[in-house]
């Protein structure tokens, strides 16, 4: 079972590695956006799917990663790849105290707390003296699509690896236990806080690493688009569509919806928000567990057993 998952994942990653250099610039950007959103979805699924804490502010770490590259390259003249790594590291380090703070909040309060965190970080970035304010930062122009793409693909591989590990390990089992009933899991000796914080940190590293690639890909960052709750909305919609708390959900949902996002986003930003918002509602009503459990009965049975609370 797990071997088959590893094999299929490797094939998917391999195809994603081989195709884009052979295609046009358009094909490359299509692949870039798809891989970016699938990877973001895997990151979000770690905290929301496995730990059961709905975060509407993981985009905070994405913005931090993007600004690490933008400021590191333009102000400190460092290589972008180093800055992109640093973005992930900063996200991870910040996620530790933030996790201890935020994860004290339950359910709706955690969701609201994270939503406000993204908003507050955006306002702080607009106000801080060294960030270029609300007008943003331009990076040196160049043909960055393929380097940014391979970076993003590497992060996707990492995110899938992390998810597979969480899915199979004792750590993941404990996460699912605390998702089902936090107090009971604590009584049974699960160090609830520690496991939640670890899941939160893992879930922050992924967007932290991805943000730097995005800044390099766009060669421009500004607070409104890097800390945008729209990125969060799309990620959430993709995971819900694919199947929250499942290994394949983020891949299926992200791959399906990223193209809708890209083709609509530029031309009809409003229609795009209505589609993603409406999609979340429609999927939750019509197919509450998402596509993957619906087409995989064995997994659905297991999900029904373990995810009564998710």
């Amino acid at each position: 079972m797990s071997d088959r998952r590893i094999a299929i994942s490797l094939v998917v990653l391999l195809v994603c590695a081989i195709v884009p250099p052979l295609g046009s610039g358009y094909v490359q950007s299509v692949f870039y956006i798809a891989v970016l959103y699938v990877a973001l979805s895997y990151g979000w699924n770690l905290i929301a799917g496995y730990a059961g804490y709905l975060s509407f502010g993981q985009v905070t770490f994405f913005g931090i990663g993007a600004y690490a590259v933008a400021l590191g390259v333009t102000r400190l003249h460092l290589p972008w790849l180093l800055c992109a790594f640093a973005g992930g590291a900063i996200a991870a380090i910040l996620a530790i105290p933030l996790g201890y703070l935020m994860l004290r909040l339950r359910g709706a309060f955690f969701a609201l707390g994270m939503l406000g965190l993204a908003q507050t970080t955006r306002i702080a970035t607009e106000t801080a003296p060294f960030t270029g304010g609300s007008s943003g930062v331009y990076l040196p122009p160049g043909s960055n699509t393929l380097p940014a793409y391979y970076w993003t693909l590497a992060v996707l591989a990492l995110a899938m690896g992390l998810t597979l590990w969480v899915d199979r390990s004792a750590f993941g089992l404990r996460l699912r236990a605390l998702r089902a009933d936090e107090r009971a899991a604590g009584t049974l000796g699960v160090d609830v806080t520690r496991f939640k914080v670890i899941a939160f940190v893992l879930s922050a590293i992924v967007p932290g690493l991805l943000g730097g690639g995005y800044a390099w890909y766009l060669t421009y960052v500004d607070p409104a688009s890097m800390f945008s709750t729209r990125i969060e909305l799309q990620t959430v919609a993709m995971v819900i569509l694919g199947g929250i708390g499942t290994y394949w959900g983020p891949l299926v949902g992200g791959a399906l919806m990223s193209q809708v996002s890209e083709s609509l986003g530029a031309r009809f930003p409003q229609g795009h928000l209505m589609i993603f918002g409406g999609l979340i509602v429609a999927v939750l009503i019509a197919l509450p567990r998402g596509i993957v459990p619906a087409i995989s009965p064995a997994r659905a049975r297991r999900a029904a057993r373990t995810a009564a609370a998710a």
Partner: protein, 291 residues
């Protein structure tokens, strides 16, 4: 600090707090009966504010004259949302919380997209009653004063409705003890729809009034959601006096932070207070007060 300045900021803050209270009362009514944390609350407020602004600038209809329309429009929207979307929640409480959060998150952005399509992304306000009343050294913005009086009047009407009418009593019964209310023959499904209609109508009325104070665009919704929750976190759920007190505290905090810090600090103040309160009471005042 000069006494005049302190008095000025205090009055500004308290007037602001009146409208905050109205926004939070709408949230209270919905959560009390349905236990749904409505993340789309701020989006309904903003939609109403944008409507009020356009009605004033294109037709000359004042936000006060808009109040009945805003209330009815918000109520219809709330009732429709409850009937189409929120009635379909799973029955187990834990699953219902996760699902309802995701549903209201989706609804919120659906409304943002709709507002963008209709109103574009421009910031809009209602330049109605822009002068100030001079009371010695203190200047009271007329628009704030009128918004405050209207908000308190609506809040009072809501209190009367909840205390002294059969529907209000049924709503309160449903929020105090769902099973008990059901056993007494109260139609819970209907109460849920009514609470959504009432809460959203009050939110929309607050939105009309907010348009006299703030410039908003379709993306401002989550700020108002946080603001409403901040009041609820401070004041507690189900407590009318608590909501008013929480709103007054938040209004003062925003007013003073905006003056001594910056406009941005005033903007993030509700969030700072929300986090600060909840860190001391992680389960929130919501969960306890109403259970």
């Amino acid at each position: 600090m000069h006494l005049e300045l302190a008095a000025q900021l205090t009055i500004d803050g308290l007037l602001l707090g009146g409208v905050f209270a109205l926004a939070a009362l709408g949230l209270n009514v919905i959560f009390g009966v349905t236990r749904i944390v409505n993340l789309a609350h701020g989006e309904i407020i903003v939609l109403a504010a944008l409507c009020a602004s356009v009605a004033f600038q294109q037709r000359g209809i004042t936000p006060i004259a808009m109040l009945p329309f805003a209330f009815v429009g918000g109520a219809v929207l709330g009732a429709i949302l409850e009937r189409i979307v929120f009635q379909r929640l799973p029955s187990d409480p834990a699953g219902a919380e996760t699902t309802s959060l995701l549903l209201t998150f989706g609804v919120a952005y659906f409304i943002v997209g709709f507002s963008l399509a209709v109103f574009t992304g421009d910031f809009r306000s209602t330049p109605y009653l822009t002068s100030g009343l001079q009371l010695g050294p203190i200047s009271i913005g007329e628009s704030r004063l009128v918004a405050f009086v209207a908000a308190i009047a609506i809040a009072g009407a809501l209190a009367v409705l909840l205390r002294a009418t059969p529907i209000g009593r049924a709503l309160r019964a449903a929020s105090q003890n769902l099973e008990g209310a059901r056993a007494c023959g109260i139609d819970i499904g209907r109460m849920r729809t009514i609470s959504f209609a009432l809460g959203s109508g009050v939110a929309a009325a607050a939105g009309s009034l907010f348009s006299m104070i703030y410039a908003v665009n379709p993306d401002s919704g989550s700020q108002f959601t946080l603001l409403s929750f901040s009041v609820v976190a401070l004041g507690g759920l189900g407590s009318y006096a608590g909501t008013l007190l929480g709103a007054a505290i938040l209004g003062l905090a925003v007013s003073f932070a905006g003056f001594f810090g910056s406009a941005q600090l005033g903007q993030v103040m509700p969030y700072v207070i929300f986090i600060a309160v909840l860190l001391f009471r992680p389960n929130g005042i919501l969960g306890k007060g109403a259970a």
